[in-house]
């Protein structure tokens, strides 16, 4: 199901952990969606000197986080802002179609961490402010129905083509 590169990063994830006193923190996703990712940045002269991650999620989510940290490490902030979710998936030699939306949040988390750093610098937020998840995907990837592979529109929670991937039967009337 997963590429060799995905399995390699899943089995030996790089840059795992938390940076004490990080300059920027970005968090994205929540357990309802399935995956949750936190990125910590250590920044010097607008260069990402160190980056670490914590992830709750499937094999793909862990591999994505690990690969992202490799791509971002040593980059300037301007370079890092250009990294997309698609870049991460490509670097992993691809991801299963239905994992592209839910698990491929690495670049979003990175961008959130950079924004957090910049906001702190400009005094917009304090370092210990909670980085709430806005779940704003870049949406350079579409979502697909896990049953029939048809494309799902924005905010569509079940597939209209096969009409099956929706809620269970109706509840007992009150």
């Amino acid at each position: 199901m997963y590429s060799k590169t995905v399995m390699d990063h899943f089995k030996k994830p790089r840059n795992v952990g938390e940076i004490e006193g990080a300059d920027g923190i970005g968090q994205i996703g929540n357990p309802v969606c399935g995956d949750m990712m936190t990125i910590y940045l250590d920044i010097e002269d607008d260069v990402i000197k160190d980056i670490k991650f914590q992830t709750f999620g499937c094999g793909a989510a862990i591999a994505v986080s690990s690969m992202l940290t490799e791509l971002a490490k040593g980059k300037t902030l301007e370079e890092a802002k250009k990294i997309t979710n698609k870049d991460v998936a490509n670097a992993l030699d691809g991801l299963p179609k239905n994992k592209l939306h839910c698990s491929n949040l690495g670049a979003d988390a990175l961008h959130a961490a950079i924004k957090n750093y910049e906001d702190r610098k400009s005094g917009k937020v304090m370092p210990d402010d909670n980085q709430e998840d806005k779940h704003e995907h870049d949406h350079d990837e579409k979502c697909y129905c896990p049953y029939c592979d048809s494309e799902l529109g924005d905010g569509q929670t079940f597939c209209k083509s096969c009409s099956l991937a929706e809620e269970g039967p109706e509840k007992e009337p009150a």
Binding site: M7, F10, K11, P13, V16, G17, E18, Q27, P31, V32, C33, G34, D35, M36, M37, T38, F53, Q54, T55, F56, G57, C58, G59, A60, A61, I62, N98, K99, C102, S103, P146, Y147, S163, L164, A165, G168, P169, E170, K171, E172, P173
Partner: protein, 395 residues
């Protein structure tokens, strides 16, 4: 140590008796049971003696009450849709519960598209349906109650004798999806008073791709498959005779070994639950502690996600399954686990561990050590675990 199967709810080995019977059946080159010549007679005899054996497994009074199908899912579809169509003039209301298998859920959803109404009753924290709730859900227009026996995710057994009694009193047909219990625990359709019972061959070490539906005499169904007069006119199409022979052979072994297997499973389950706290903390065991499948454990490991545990265990040579959204293909947390009141995060970390006849206590010990190692690795990465640890330290 080779690859270890602790995912017996999803796949089991064939008992040697079944594979031998199937090889013999292939070599015998039986004819078509519907033919009127000698080759047909010979095949028909084999088919009918297999039917008698399978009938005995669930104590069906008359072998003609057994219809062979292609799998448990087909049996369920045939029972639910077939009965709804046959009785639609009497009413269009059906009753089920919130933790059914997709075969039932989606059959009912299809019926709703055709104008039927469905009431789904809730379950308690163990995943058990209260028969009195079923009774209250039955209306004048109710034609069928369909509630499973053993739940395939949490192993909970519903009180099907009481549910059958409620249905009988109300004059409503009762279908029970017993795919995960027939052949593992004793089931007597006569004593239970069940009208329709779906089951399959693979859960009791028979071949995959063969199932059966018990249809009590006098219960009329519309056919799913129309055509010839096979299966006492209930399911058209040439029978899968080799598979049916395998199912009957496995049924014989299941009847012979049932008590021995049950004892074995119970010992394993007891051992697993006694050893688990030595290897793991922060977990939940789902389902009813006693009214459950003896070879089944639903374990929610907190602060980690199920698919990643399954992948890590797979690397170490153990097959288990998970009910996390990521792995299920539906990208949502299990409806069964959420129905019992489990949180989204805990549902995400749920593993299903199911034993087979070849599982030993040594295998369980090895598995628990591998599980502990995998969970430790994943928790070290998990932001939820880090947050929980901080909260603990703060208190």
């Amino acid at each position: 140590m080779g690859y270890i199967n602790l995912d017996n709810i999803n796949f089991k080995h064939l008992v040697p008796e079944a594979s031998q019977a199937m090889i013999d059946a292939i070599k015998a080159e039986y004819g078509n049971p519907s033919s009127q010549h000698q080759k047909g007679d010979e095949a028909r005899e084999v088919l009918e003696s297999s039917r008698e054996t399978v009938a005995r497994l669930i104590n069906a009074k008359d072998p003609r009450e057994i219809v062979f199908t292609s799998c448990g899912t087909e049996s369920v579809n045939m029972a639910v849709k077939g009965l709804a169509w046959a009785r639609q003039d009497k009413g269009k209301h059906l009753v089920t519960c919130n933790t059914e298998h997709n075969a039932v859920i989606r059959s009912l959803r299809r019926l709703k598209q055709l104008g039927f109404q469905v009431t789904s009753v809730p379950v308690d924290k163990y995943g058990v349906v209260n028969p009195q709730t079923v009774k209250r859900a039955i209306r004048e227009s109710t034609i069928l109650v369909t509630i499973m026996h053993a739940n395939n995710e949490i192993g909970t057994l519903h009180p099907i004798a009481e549910i059958a009694a409620v249905c009988r009193e109300a004059g409503v047909a009762y279908h029970c999806d017993a795919v995960d219990s027939v052949g593992t625990i004793p089931i007597d359709v006569e004593a239970l008073g069940i009208d329709l019972l779906s089951f399959a061959s693979n859960p009791f070490y028979g071949p995959k791709g063969v199932g059966a539906l018990y249809v009590r005499r006098g219960i009329g169904l519309w056919n799913l498959l129309d055509g010839g007069a096979q299966e006492n006119r209930k399911r058209a199409g040439t029978e899968n005779l080799v598979g049916i022979v395998g199912m009957a052979a496995a049924a014989k072994v299941a009847m012979r070994d049932m008590e021995k297997r049950l004892e074995h499973y119970k010992n394993l389950r007891r051992h697993f639950l006694a050893q688990l706290p030595k290897y793991l903390e922060d977990y939940l065991i789902n389902g009813h502690p006693e009214q459950c499948l003896p070879n089944h454990i639903s374990l929610s490991v907190r602060h980690v996600e199920g698919e990643s545990i399954v992948l890590m265990l797979d690397e170490q040579g153990f097959a288990v399954s998970t009910r996390s959204a990521c792995a299920s293909g539906s990208l949502r947390a299990s409806h069964v686990l959420l129905s019992t009141g489990l949180s989204f995060a805990d549902a995400q970390g749920t593993l299903v561990i199911s034993f087979g006849t070849d599982t030993t206590t040594q295998i369980i010990d090895n598995f628990l050590a591998a599980l502990a190692e995998s969970v430790k690795t994943l928790r070290a990465i998990s932001p939820l675990y880090a947050a929980a640890q901080k909260e603990k330290a703060g208190k």
